[in-house]
Symmetry: C2
Subunit: 415 residues, 2 copies
């Protein structure tokens, strides 16, 4: 066995104890994590300072260093997140259904933990705690593999969590941090089918693609978002401009931000100048179809890649369409199944759009930016699934569980 | 685009229409399939005869030819299965939950089809219809890839289903049969991530391993079953012998059959001879641990592979254990997460076992042979999932669906 296999086997073993832990024990563990983070803040900040120094020496960019950096405020934010998760209802143990069969067997479908979750992530050390506590609350042990630039910070955070677990009588190995941060360890982790029940990549599109392409452990794909705002001819154009501005500009770096505006030809001449006026506040750059470029001379001509590009920036693709059918066909071809919105005052058109669009979340007269575990009332979120198996859309605690059938007999045999 | 990509794209396109079809239309399609199978039985039997002739010429074994063969009775069985699926409730469209958020957004979680399912299977042509109609009822288009030995039969069955679909106004491409039956087409299909939402292999362990190892489309792993019967010292030994006999001998070729008996040392000397007497009716061959071999001289000594072997035959592995802890440890190490049973009269021990065992189905005083969609009351089954993501245990219509969030606003924007 390799070092990673030995570590993963220990996590799997710990998961058997954690799966049977009471809600009280799990909540006590989370509160112990919160307190230890506050008590041992200096240790975390010192490790983080060493990561930052090494990062500077290695010429990491400012944006990267900013994601990597921790300070008192960020630690308080992490602690607050831990306590929020502790306060959520425990999803484990709920009986999802019970049937009594004609032969007297009582069959109960019960919610149980997934077992062991693997998380592969990049530079943000807060993910180490955020992801781990969500897994723990849902009864799952977790094998964490963060980016090498944040290794010292992640190690300090993982040690604090492991000590807190031991303090409440749970195995330290309910949380483990992969010690090698080279590419080989990531590849090896993606194939630990004997020890991991699920793999959740958290990071940029490149990471997610690499994990999806290389893993044999089942993966939950998260976070690809080429989201559309479709402005129908019966839209309230002021509402549409507000929704578009919010969806594009309130936080362009995230996956639920809009990348493409589709607008009906019948209102394009009225709507596009209105939209541009709003978007001008953030100097949004535009790529448009030929008709758009006629109406908006400042728009640059769209290329073949335009409609499939997730900018994560103050850039918007704009296309004039003939009506709902063309909008739906465009979304079917270029959408990533994340979040799509229609703005219209016509109910029949809205209902058809809501039914026809194949995405995790479909909106009528609201911004796509609401696709989020907190905004949906799940209380927390480990990511937004853009696949259709297991979980779709914001993933909270319930999405980190599985089920099992428990069958009560009195000696029944078949046939 | 390759021929397979063109075909898969057509299936994906057809799935968009099917996803919006009413229950009445889907049921009409299934009834049309049932009627057409009866009307065009000769066509199916002629194609099947050609497959059988070719199989004989190619020296296929009798058991293989038996799985391949269709006759009037088997056709009637297939038709009956189609009508049973038509009679089941439609899972699509159900509203799983609705929340109204403080900002006025109404968020509805709605059950929707998965989209396109790929089925890779072996020699049984009945799977062509069984799997397709389950997918259709759940609103999914299906791309079928059967074994080359059954190609003519599968083609006849697929044509009948495609014509029936057209007859009720649905696209023929809701059902499509892959035309190449070489290895390359299977590999290519496993990577059609742009067109397939899920891949379900149906067949032997080799097929399932190959698909799990090679697919990038999300796979649902089904049907590996190293199932255990654990006879606790407080068991009713006659009941235990009946359950063991049923679990081993009622149909040894299937995945929910028992492969291993674990028996408490305290009752081994009493129970093993009783068990052997029952199992003798089917001349069950035994592989035992050293203690078993002392009690039962006819048992052969177990090897290192014994405890991980799925015999699918009248063969049983037997191990004497010290008690529940050793039984649980053995199952954790050697079980495949399918079905496990304890026989005991002691409630506390039973409850601990039911909680601790990590499997799709865990039984107290009943045979593992009940793990089945029909026996569980699901009405039908496309397979038994042994993974924890998406579906676990027998998969019926609901397990062939996904969900989406539909959000109703009045112009809401975030922050």
């Amino acid at each position: 066995m390799t070092a990673l296999e030995i570590q993963a086997a220990a996590v799997r073993e710990a998961s058997r104890t954690l799966a049977l832990a009471s809600t009280e024990t799990k909540n006590a563990a989370l509160e112990a994590v919160a307190q230890a983070l506050l008590l041992r803040e200096e240790e975390v900040l010192a490790a983080n300072a060493a990561d930052l120094t090494a990062g500077l020496e290695n010429g990491l960019k400012d944006a990267f260093l900013d994601r990597l950096a921790l300070d008192h405020g960020r630690i308080l934010g992490i602690v607050d997140g831990v306590r929020q998760v502790a306060a959520l209802p425990d999803p484990i143990g709920a009986v999802l259904k019970t049937v009594t069969r004609p032969n007297g067997l009582v069959i109960e479908k019960r919610r149980v933990p997934l077992g062991v979750a693997g998380i592969i992530y990049e530079a943000r050390p807060n993910v180490t705690v955020d992801a781990a506590v969500l897994c723990l609350k849902a009864g799952n042990a977790v094998l964490l593999r963060g980016g090498k630039e944040a290794f010292r910070s992640n190690q300090a955070l993982a040690n604090i969590m492991r000590d807190a677990l031991t303090g409440v009588g749970l195995p330290a190995d309910c949380v483990a941090l992969v010690q090698d941060t080279n590419r080989e360890s990531a590849s090896e982790m993606m194939n630990l089918t004997a020890y991991l029940d699920v793999l959740i990549p958290r990071g940029g599109a490149g990471l997610i693609r690499a994990v999806t392409q290389n893993a044999h452990v089942p993966v939950i794909r998260t976070g690809e978002g080429v989201c559309h705002i479709y402005v129908h001819k019966e839209a309230d154009l002021d509402m549409a401009a507000d929704i578009l501005y919010n969806a594009k500009c309130s936080r362009p770096s995230v996956c639920n931000a809009a990348e493409t505006l589709l607008v009906d030809r019948a209102v394009a001449k009225d709507f596009l100048p209105l939209a541009v006026e709003k978007l001008g506040a953030k100097s949004v750059k535009l790529y448009g179809c030929p008709e758009t470029c006629v109406i908006l001379p400042q728009a640059l001509p769209a290329s073949a890649e335009t409609w499939d590009t997730e900018y994560n920036d103050y850039i918007l693709s704009v296309k004039v369409v003939g009506g709902p059918a063309e909008a739906l066909a465009h979304i079917a071809l270029h959408g990533t199944g994340h979040s799509e919105a229609i703005v219209t005052g016509e109910e029949r058109t809205a209902v058809d759009f809501l039914n026809a669009v194949d995405a995790a979340a479909v909106y009528w007269n609201a911004s796509t930016r609401f696709t989020d575990g907190y905004e949906f009332g799940l209380g927390a979120e480990i990511g937004i699934s853009t696949q259709k198996l297991h979980a779709r859309g914001p993933m909270g605690l319930e999405e980190l569980t599985s089920s099992k059938y428990v069958v009560y007999g009195q000696g029944q045999v078949r046939e």
